[in-house]
């Protein structure tokens, strides 16, 4: 098991969130959408310019800018 930031994840790679390293509005928004430690995420794809990233969590699709995904630490197998 290795911990990486969500930005570094490859397409179709899955992992389990281990930490959200940001507070304030951004941290709150990320958590409100279900990105909390323990949640399983899978990279669904990236926009044509490689940013933002689309991820799959709790059965729905969520998009984040890369600089926002930088705050999400994921444990990948």
């Amino acid at each position: 098991m290795e911990k990486i930031m969500m930005r570094e994840m490859k397409d179709n790679q899955s992992g389990v969130i281990s930490a959200i390293k940001v507070g304030g509005e951004l941290g709150r928004r990320i958590r409100d959408m279900g990105l909390v430690p323990g949640a399983t995420v899978k990279i669904q794809g990236r926009a044509p310019l490689y940013d933002p990233v689309a991820i799959r969590v709790m059965g729905f699709t969520l998009t984040l800018r890369n600089n926002e995904a930088d705050h999400v630490e994921v444990e990948v197998g």
Binding site: M33, G38, T40, P48, A54, G59, F60, T63, E68
Partner: protein, 740 residues
């Protein structure tokens, strides 16, 4: 019975569909006081039940970070609805319960509509509604809003709750030892001094202090500073402790624990899942194509072109009907009213003004229908996703593109629906920057002005110049947006964190209601503010009229011309119809009279308030190469940009020039001393950037929620336009290019 019910829920949970299903056409849209968030209300009538329903904005949470969430929260506290129906997407239960839990924590009576049961079923998700109801201690009713299934049961359950009006305490969730202890301590302090207890439960206030909720903190500060300070001290202590031991802020801990609580409920046999939760469905397969690196942009351009085509081509026919109707009305008024001020007011002020404004109605209807289609189907979110990288550079949001396109990003749009289209943007700063810069686009009313100037001075490079104009508009709009975002609308960009909802086939009812709402709002505005301003503009271009002595002189000139003609010619002049072939002499006489009329109109305009402004502005405008005639035309352009053309016609004694037929005017301009290709270029630049027409200004005021931004756009844009035009003219003059 009568009851007041609030509808709440996540975006894309089917909330609006349920609202439409319940209220049908019995709804109206307003605004919450002081904010630009829409307030939708309606009535549901069934047997003796008359239920007042308020559709709260769709939210994922109840923080104070966004206007929508604050509004929803305040509504529950201030208006105290009998029941809150929380629409929960059954195919997405975990995330949707997150909001439900927060309602329960507030202690409001909640009835849960477990919506989209059909979608959930098709995804192999089975939900035990009874079990969920027992665990939450609130009614849970399965529904399918699209077909109306479960609607009656839902209303029955809600009205039953409303009748019972049982006071239930707020839901208590454990947030871990440290936080629980702090909450208890805070609750005690809150209860002891009745701190904000008239509005909120003690526990809820404590939670909000822990969540560092700005709104509640400032309320508390105002109500009782010493208790507030004490609470903040407790928060500070536990916060430090949590950071030291777990490296986490209380706010984060609370969100995590809420999801933990939801998870524990779901695991108690509420939810059975046949497939892997993150497996791909049809919608995701569509996305593989639609947001593909190569196909995605092509499909997007095609869709945006289609939207544009749909809005501006198909609306031409009804726009034509409006035009002919108001044309007919104007003619009728012209023939039946006696010559004079009243006629001028009715024809040029009221009918032209209202006609010009209502002429946009079909446009707005078509555009909102198109946008609603893209939005309700889920495609708009994909457009934002794909374009965000580009627009973010300028401090905007991926969703900004729609407003730019509609405003004339593809030449020929209109800024009025463009400004209204910014509603699809949920980020306040990005939205403001977008709506202030969309008027730079080449709208359909600026095109006749460009066409006139290009025909007169750049006839050989027509296509190139028109393309350049479009590019300059885009570059200008994006750069100004960037400028605004680093100066007066500066600040971190709003988090992009956005759901890509599954593709859904929009319902016609939903589209129709949505379109009608927007259109009606526009018509209401048109009937009041816009009519008033249009009369003021008419007055500016009419008053003060020429002094009587001067009018008499023109009359004398006409008499002299007539006197010199033969009696039979005069006779013919009076009786000629349009089809009669005129004899040479009659024609000559008529032309002489027309020349006098036009001279009089020119002098009248010069003497009017607008004309005097034009003259006064010559001191400044001469640096950009404009004389007073151009200035008057530009002042007139504030009414509507195509007026620039007709006003130039009057100022050059050519009579009223039809914006569609500018041949004679462009010939005149090309020959007039003082005009050169350089002046034309400078005027083109000025026209792109200067103050939007007043209808757009009124819409900016409406959409931004403040007159301040309307006035700003008038002043800022005009100064910017003047600076740019002056630069073009001065640099061009010095370098000696494009001079005549």
């Amino acid at each position: 019975m009568e009851a007041k019910i609030a509808l709440a829920g996540n975006p894309n949970s089917g909330k609006t569909t349920l609202f439409n299903e319940l209220t049908g056409a019995r709804q109206h849209v307003g605004n919450y006081p002081g904010v630009t968030v829409e307030k939708k209300e309606g009535t549901y009538i069934h047997n003796e039940d008359k239920i007042h329903i308020v559709d709260l904005p769709g939210t994922y949470s109840l923080t104070a970070y966004s206007e929508e969430e604050a509004v929803a929260r305040d509504f529950l506290v201030n208006e105290n609805p009998d029941v809150v129906i929380d629409i929960v997407d059954a195919s997405n239960l975990e995330r949707n319960l997150y909001l439900a839990i927060q309602f329960l924590e507030m202690g409001v009576p909640v009835c849960i509509a477990l919506n989209m049961m059909d979608v959930a079923k098709s995804r192999g998700i089975e939900i035990n509604a009874e079990k969920l109801s027992t665990l939450l201690g609130n009614p849970v009713i399965p529904t399918i809003a699209r077909t109306g299934k479960g609607k009656k049961e839902l209303i029955n359950a809600a009205t039953k709750m409303a009748q019972e009006r049982k006071k239930k305490g707020p839901l208590t969730i454990s947030y871990g030892n440290d936080l629980d202890e702090a909450i208890l301590e805070m609750e005690k302090a809150i209860k002891a001094s009745d701190f904000l207890t008239d509005a909120y439960h003690a526990r809820w206030t404590a939670l909000k202090y822990l969540e560092n909720d700005k709104q509640i903190l400032s309320k508390g500060e105002k109500s009782n500073p010493s208790v507030s300070a004490r609470l903040e001290k407790i928060v500070e202590k536990v916060s430090l402790h949590l950071q030291r031991t777990l490296n986490i802020y209380p706010e984060a801990m609370i969100a995590d624990q809420r999801y933990g609580y939801i998870n524990s409920i779901i695991k108690q046999g509420v939810l059975q899942q046949k497939y892997d939760q993150n497996r791909l469905y049809t919608s995701d397969k569509i996305d593989k194509v639609v947001t593909n690196r190569f196909l995605g942009p092509i499909i997007m351009i095609a869709s945006l072109m289609a939207l544009y085509h749909f809005t501006f081509t198909y609306s031409e026919i009804p726009v034509g009907w409006f035009e002919s109707f108001f044309g007919w009305l104007g003619d009728a008024a012209s023939t039946h009213l006696p010559d004079g001020l009243l006629k001028s007011l009715v024809v040029s002020g009221v009918i032209d003004g209202v006609g010009g404004v209502l002429g946009f109605v079909p446009l707005i209807m078509f555009m909102f229908f198109g946008i609603a289609l893209l939005e309700d189907s889920g495609y708009l979110a994909r457009v934002a996703f794909m374009l965000d990288r580009v627009f973010r550079i300028f401090g905007l949001h991926g969703s900004s593109v729609m407003a730019y396109i509609v405003s004339g990003g593809i030449a020929g749009g209109c800024a009025v629906p463009g400004v209204m289209a910014t509603r699809t943007l949920k980020s306040p700063k990005e939205r403001l920057a977008t709506l202030l810069t969309v008027p730079f686009m080449s709208c359909g009313a600026k095109l006749p002005v460009f066409a006139l100037l290009v025909a007169a001075f750049f006839a050989n490079n027509e296509a190139t110049i028109m393309l350049m104009i479009t590019l300059v508009s885009w570059a200008g709009a994006l750069l100004v947006a960037k400028f605004l975002r680093v100066t007066i609308i500066k600040g971190e960009s709003t988090p992009f964190v956005m759901e890509l909802p599954p593709y859904r086939l929009p319902t016609f009812k939903g589209l129709a209601i949505h379109t009608w709402e927007r259109t009606w709002q526009y018509i209401k505005k048109a009937g009041t503010v816009i009519l008033g301003i249009s009369i003021i503009l008419w007055a500016m271009m009419t008053f003060p009229g020429l002094p009587d002595s001067r009018v008499q002189e023109f009359e004398n000139m006409r008499e002299t011309v007539k006197m010199s003609a033969e009696a039979t010619v005069i006779q013919n002049l009076v009786t000629i119809g349009e089809s009669t072939k005129l004899s040479k002499k009659v024609e000559d006489l008529q032309n002489q009279l027309i020349v006098i009329d036009r001279k009089e109109a020119e002098e009248g305009l010069r003497n009017s308030v607008a004309g005097r402004m034009g003259l006064a502005l010559e001191g400044v405008s001469k640096w950009a190469g404009f004389d007073w005639r151009t200035n008057i035309a530009l002042v007139g352009g504030f009414a509507a940009k195509e007026v620039v053309v007709s006003a130039l016609g009057t100022a050059y004694s050519l009579g009223e020039v039809d914006p569609e037929e500018t041949g004679s005017l462009s010939e005149t301009l090309a020959k007039t001393p003082g005009w050169s290709p350089l002046v034309a270029l400078s005027l083109i630049i000025f026209t792109i950037f200067y103050a939007p027409c007043f209808i757009t200004v009124v819409m900016i005021v409406r959409e931004s929620g403040s007159w301040k931004w309307g006035l700003f756009s008038m002043a800022f844009n005009t100064v910017l336009a003047l600076v740019l035009a002056t630069l073009v003219f001065q640099i061009g003059s010095i370098m000696g290019i494009l001079g005549s």
